[in-house]
Subunit: 488 residues, 2 copies
Amino acid sequence: MNSTSPINGKSYKVPAGNDKAGIESFINQNRGKKIVVVQGLGFVGAAMSLVVANSKEDYAVIGVDTATSEGYWKIASINGGELPLASSDIKLKQYFDNAKQKENIYATYDNLAYSLADVIIIDINLDVEKVLGDLNELQGYNVDLRKFKNAVCAVLNSCKEDVLVLVETTVPPGTCSKVIKPLVNEIFMERGLDVEKIKLAHSYERVMPGPNYIDSIENFYRVYSGINELSADAAESFLKTIIKTSEYPLTRLSNTNASEISKVLENSYRAMNIAFIQEWTELADAAGVDLYEVISAIRMRPTHKNIMRPGLGVGGYCLTKDPLLASWASQEMFHCRPLTQSVAAVTINDQMPLYSLKVLKERFGEGLKGTKVLFLGVSYLNDVGDTRFTPVELIYDQIKELGADVYLHDPYLSVWEEKGLPVEGELNLQSVDIVIVTVSHKQFISEEYFCYINKIKPEFILDTLGCYLSYEDKIDDKIELKIIGKGV
Amino acid sequence: MNSTSPINGKSYKVPAGNDKAGIESFINQNRGKKIVVVQGLGFVGAAMSLVVANSKEDYAVIGVDTATSEGYWKIASINGGELPLASSDIKLKQYFDNAKQKENIYATYDNLAYSLADVIIIDINLDVEKVLGDLNELQGYNVDLRKFKNAVCAVLNSCKEDVLVLVETTVPPGTCSKVIKPLVNEIFMERGLDVEKIKLAHSYERVMPGPNYIDSIENFYRVYSGINELSADAAESFLKTIIKTSEYPLTRLSNTNASEISKVLENSYRAMNIAFIQEWTELADAAGVDLYEVISAIRMRPTHKNIMRPGLGVGGYCLTKDPLLASWASQEMFHCRPLTQSVAAVTINDQMPLYSLKVLKERFGEGLKGTKVLFLGVSYLNDVGDTRFTPVELIYDQIKELGADVYLHDPYLSVWEEKGLPVEGELNLQSVDIVIVTVSHKQFISEEYFCYINKIKPEFILDTLGCYLSYEDKIDDKIELKIIGKGV
């Protein structure tokens, strides 16, 4: 079995057996240092490992992922000197090179690492399974905790009695107190350990994998809690060593339910505010109203400053599922009602790209067949090369199905990992019929891009998010420009 | 037929016949001045009349209301030197006294006023009829435009050809272009007038009937639009004479649909954000979480600063209906889908007081019968004596039905107009079983009130909105205090 890096295409053979020798060698090199193990080397865990390895405290960091085709390339990359993340944040590479030079970072698939740790940070994924209908409408969803519980058990079966386990994964509220704590009790009983010694805490990350990737961990506000005071104190002491708390003070909440709720509440709030404006976008287009000027007028009110603007849709790992985690927990963990506003938000957001498609279909009808369509942007977020749950997928799939030739361009990507599709980093078409602007990368608002678009002479530009709002005069008069939500 | 002022109890005989003599006498006194007529002397129109009468421009103001038991007392009050509004804003009385002294304000029920006006401001109500179920859940709603159209026709049948008609009423988007403009065309045709001469504009108010009542008109941002440039220009010129636009610049929107949408969008946004937190309040109580500390933690994020806090419910004339006006217009005026987030917001908000009731019932069960219950607050808003659609009504009705003796106290009220109930302005109970805090009037957070409550020794205080959050130590330890949303 091989594991291939989507970052640089390098392939690694997934090893069998243990990694005892590798771990012991690393430990010998880092004698006297506190050992921090990060479980999960994804977008959060990999960056977190680098932040910890570069903190003022003298930590030795071991990242753990799985010996699978999905997981092993991250381990091999870190140990082989290759950053397992693509990002526009130069700090990420600096931090990685620095840790490699200090030799205080290592990655493994061997659970032996947990037995050596003073701190274990849980950064694995916890997904929501959605059931979507033909119109991408949410028909149902489920949260399966088994994989998460298995990962926690791996930790608890090996860890020291007085370890600090810090959960950063976004979990359904109630997980630390109603799922992990009972596992601690059960496993520590079996192992003959004192359950009062372990420190179990929750502190959620607010990582933004863009140009401020590292700063979104080191230089941003943090919320934390523990299952008891001992745990909360331990979490606080640790977080103070990795976060600039003089400028971004920590907030301790009274219990783990509180900080777990805090995370999904803030993301539900954002998802709902995005969903809200979508329905008004369609109304504005129908009423011949420029929703952008309406929003500017409303934002004059201090109480309404963060009202959102129209867009293609919602992507990323968090906003597409956290409101459902919350509602699931409300019902399953606390026997409360579902959180209707949060579920409605996901439902509306999941369907949002279909509106841009509808506008396109109304303009071209059957005429889309055989047209050349250029997508400006594949990423779900501006100035980032991140395609996780990108809303571009839904509109891409449907336009392909209608028979258009689609060209994907994104300056931050060379490949659309989830689709296994190449993405052009360079502008290399000679002519095109339709341009769809799907994300507001800063490059797209530049003389270079305006000149290019005027040169390839599309018949129609669909700007799904007001990217060209102040630049309409840069586009050739002969090109028809439709900005979603600008009904006039 | 008599008409009685709810402010001071004075009763006036509703006149028959016209008011030609009264109007002519007023006009003679104000020769050479521009005449501004305000249609509707409610919470907006009465205050607007005072602002216009006190503007730097030399206007003569005629307020028009109906010769009915509901309307005539406002007319008689103004002409008799009595302010037809109760408010804590001292400017209101100053403005009224000043206008009475200058003799540039008059009120009438006679449509003759419209024929003399240079500017006519429409400030009448436009209500939504709700169908509510047994649990106060929204089962349906309707908007009946007939009354509004009749009022507009009264204006158009009498007005000058080149009058500026400025609509301030919150209307379903589309009203100016699809309802009023066709009426202009029809009536001006009949009257042989030039439809191109009339100026028809929309500018929505953001009046807050509290201590900054006048400032919420004079010193706040305004949005406006016209059915054509002539109309928008005329509205701008007029608004500049009554609003301090050097500090609060006006925002012109491209068409009347836009400013009509802007008003209901901003209120829907607020209603939705209030509704959102309600579902989390119930979850927080069930999960033993202090939602207030969670909200404080989340508000550290600049993007999440305006997340709302728990409360009893939503009242007032605007937030309880504007989202429905919006959704109705989306469907009926523009053949779009309903605005689901907006309708859901009203549904959740209408039911919100039942949660506080549930907490009380869970604590007392059948034991509520015969208990003495003191309500601190009847108004829907802090530091204001305004009972329109107050959420207190639902919880009051149900507690009465359960057999409790209810005492209403509100320092801003002597009467609950809609219920015809007296409200005690003074604290005059000797003992009580339950105190329910329903609104955060500043008086309630004072030594005087804390002493009083400790003296009357309630068994239980239900704080529905976190009023006592930082003052728990002021309350006697023997009194049980439950703050809604503070689950710990």
